[in-house]
Symmetry: C3
Subunit: 140 residues, 3 copies
Amino acid sequence: MWARREVRLAPRSRGVHLVTREIVAGVPEIADVRVGLAHLFIRHTSASLALNENASPDVRTDLEEWFGRVVPDGAPFFTHTLEGPDDMPAHVKAVIVGSSLTLPVADGRLDLGTWQGVYLCEHRDHGGPRSLTVTVHGEL
Amino acid sequence: MWARREVRLAPRSRGVHLVTREIVAGVPEIADVRVGLAHLFIRHTSASLALNENASPDVRTDLEEWFGRVVPDGAPFFTHTLEGPDDMPAHVKAVIVGSSLTLPVADGRLDLGTWQGVYLCEHRDHGGPRSLTVTVHGEL
Amino acid sequence: MWARREVRLAPRSRGVHLVTREIVAGVPEIADVRVGLAHLFIRHTSASLALNENASPDVRTDLEEWFGRVVPDGAPFFTHTLEGPDDMPAHVKAVIVGSSLTLPVADGRLDLGTWQGVYLCEHRDHGGPRSLTVTVHGEL
């Protein structure tokens, strides 16, 4: 069984956001899968997807703080600056975090660890809505 | 063909550990697959999975050394500190390394490059045992 | 449907290179898939695969520049130095960027976002040709 859905995430401020529920709500076919995988793919180059702590919001704040220190806005060695000081750092962060996640599906739900949630990492100041392509495949 | 296994990795000290054999031993269904993929997924937010050099142990030592420099324990800008100075750095490292690997399977074995092995990156001082969910699918 | 291909990428200089067309040309089976996934896997430990901006070449130049700053050649804390000052940094970069990409396939083509392209990140000064294993599976 294969299913494919476009999921459009509402615009978010720069930073790290928990979006597990929003994604699951957009992919009803997950409920049909007994054993399988879900592939989440973001169709942009300045936002990324990660999996991490779903409880304390300060983990997400600290992660954004670290990103800003290791890939500083407006770093003098960046030459790709036409789209603003947050653009090239966004590309770097998207490369190191990644554009997709593959997650196990079991008995009709995303089978994550107790503390795991899906993060949208919005690396632009004004990134706008973000489109995901979610592909689910598995056994019914 | 789909198969799903839980693999429990023995507790390890903080650092980078080669676990290819331990994982393969826990997933006998790999032997049945002619062409396919194996998805390795760690169910935790402060340890991660990577693929790299399987020979020199000093590659793993140096990688841990680099992690500690780019994401220092007890960095003053981290606010999520209740679980200790190694906790928030562990979350950051897990995000940049990643929680899963998808690996080719061919003729009944993980089809890695000659020098590639699976790394468990244990980012906590005392992380305990780590659970993986391994999903194998492919043609018999 | 499952297909598997070896794709050999021509040797490239150290840096970040757009290789989408070269990969697609080596995997004709993509054209047969209506809904599915393509798994791109690099069989080396000192080069990596990423997905990012396919237009401005300065994004790729700046990314290489950032890599060199956060993982400097010949850093004094690296002990794995027998293969040269660019070797251990190459392993670190390969771990943080990653060895594989999973990409959606739709209606016979890689279904990337408008601005997305596949990057080969060549982390060695003289890496030579690089081998990929591409696995495509999906519905016809």
